[in-house]
Point group: C2
C-alpha cells in the first residue's frame, strides 16, 4: 500500500464499493459475456441510481480494463504459486486449465476475441509478461541445456531451423531474461498448443463431436513434455 493505501475511512469505503461493483460485473460477464456488461444494471442491483457509479469508475471501459487487470493478476498469481510449490510444466498446464475452466469468460477476457481499437494499458502487459516468464522459466528447467549448435550443419533449411535462427536472434526478449533458444521454442509450443485445445474446449467446440476435452488436453500435454516435442 504505497500511495493509495492512505487508510482514510473514505478510501476504505471507496475501495469496498469498487470491489462490490467488480463482483457484480464478474457475475454478469460470466453469465452473459463481456459485451452484455451494463454499468446501469449493476447500479440497480446495488440499490444505487444510474450515474452513481461514475464516481468510482470513469466509464464502462475502465471497469472492463480493471477486470482484465484483475484477471491477469489472478492468473499470474495462480501460476506463480504453483511454480513456487514445485509444479513442473505438466503441473502448470493443468493449473492453467483449472483456472480457465473455473470461469471461461475470464479466460476469454484475456485471450479471446480482441476489440480492434483497444490497446491494453502498459501495466497489464507487464503482468502478462510475468505470466509468460513463469512459463518460460518452467520450460528452461524442463529443457536440457542445449549445446547451442546441436544439429548437423549441412541440413536442408526446414521451417524448424529457420525458426531456431529467428529465436536465437530474439533471445533477449523481455530484456533481462535471456533463455536458451530450445526453451523459448518449447515455451512457444506450450503456449500456443495449450491455448489451442483450451480455447476450443471453453468455446464448446468439442461438445458437438463426442470428444472428451480432458483426454485431448492430456494427450497434447504429453506430446509437449516429450524430449522432441
Amino acid at each position: 500500500m504505497a500511495k493509495t493505501g492512505t487508510d482514510t475511512p473514505r478510501e476504505r469505503y471507496r475501495a469496498q464499493l469498487r470491489e462490490e461493483v467488480k463482483r457484480h460485473a464478474r457475475d454478469q460477464i460470466a453469465t452473459a459475456g463481456a459485451s452484455a456488461l451494463s454499468l446501469n444494471a449493476i447500479a440497480k442491483q446495488m440499490g444505487l441510481s444510474g450515474p452513481a457509479l461514475y464516481r468510482y469508475f470513469a466509464g464502462r471501459d475502465e471497469l472492463i480494463t480493471e477486470l482484465v487487470r484483475d484477471a491477469y493478476r489472478s492468473l499470474a498469481d495462480t501460476l506463480g504459486t504453483a511454480a513456487a510449490d514445485g509444479a513442473g510444466l505438466a503441473g502448470l498446464a493443468r493449473t492453467l486449465r483449472g483456472w480457465a475452466l473455473a470461469d471461461p469468460q475470464r479466460y476469454f477476457l484475456l485471450y479471446g476475441t480482441p476489440v480492434p481499437g483497444y490497446h491494453a494499458p502498459q501495466d497489464t502487459t507487464a503482468i502478462s509478461d510475468a505470466i509468460m516468464r513463469t512459463l518460460l522459466d518452467a520450460c528452461t528447467a524442463a529443457t536440457p541445456g542445449a549445446p547451442e549448435a546441436p544439429e548437423v550443419p549441412e541440413v536442408p533449411e526446414t521451417a524448424g531451423t529457420v525458426l531456431a535462427a529467428h529465436l536465437a536472434a530474439h533471445r533477449d526478449w523481455v530484456c533481462d531474461h535471456p533463455a536458451p533458444t530450445g526453451a523459448i521454442h518449447r515455451f512457444l509450443a506450450f503456449w500456443t498448443r495449450l491455448h489451442g485445445v483450451l480455447s476450443l474446449e471453453l468455446a464448446g467446440h468439442f461438445g458437438g463431436m463426442g470428444f472428451d476435452p480432458d483426454l485431448l488436453f492430456e494427450a497434447e500435454l504429453e506430446g509437449l513434455l516429450a524430449p522432441r516435442f
Copy 2:
C-alpha cells in the same frame, strides 16, 4: 434456388438490399468488432431511416447469425476448392491462415469468444461439419493406413494410448464417415494447434514480443506434417 429463388422483381430487390446491409455490417465488424455492430448506423449509412431494416432482418441477432452463416460458407468453400485443387494438409493450413488474415474478425466470429446464451442454428453447424470433414479427409490421405493395432500391447498406459482408445470408440463421429483413428488423431492436432497459433497471431499477442507469426505458423505446421507429429 428451390423456394426462395422465385425470381420476382421484389425478391431480387430484397436480396440485393439484404446483401448491401451485410456488406456494411461486415465493414463495421472488421473495424470495430462484432459487439459494435449497429443496425441503426447501417440504416443511416444507406440513407434509410432506422426501422426500415427490420423489414429485411428480424433483428440484430438474425443479422449476426446470417454473417456467421456466410463466414462458415466462405471458409468451407475456400477450403473445399483448395482441396479439390489438390492441396494437401500444408496447403489447407496455409489457405486457412490466408482466409483468417484477410479478415480476422470474421475468423473470430466463428472461433472466437462464445456468447454464453447463443446456440448456433443447425444449418450453420452442418457447414461447420463440412469444414471439419474436408480437414479430416486431408488427414486421412496424409496418414499412412495404420494396421489398427500398431503398438506394443504391454506398454504402460500413456495419455496417448488412452486417447487412441477414446478415438477408436468415436470413429463414427459424424455418422457416415468412419476414419482410421490415426487420421482422427492427426486431424484433432491439426485443428487445435493451428487454431492456437493462428488465434494468438490474429489477436496480436505475438506483436508485443518480437516473434514472426509467419515462422511460428510454418514451424508448427512442419511438426504437424511429420510422420509422428
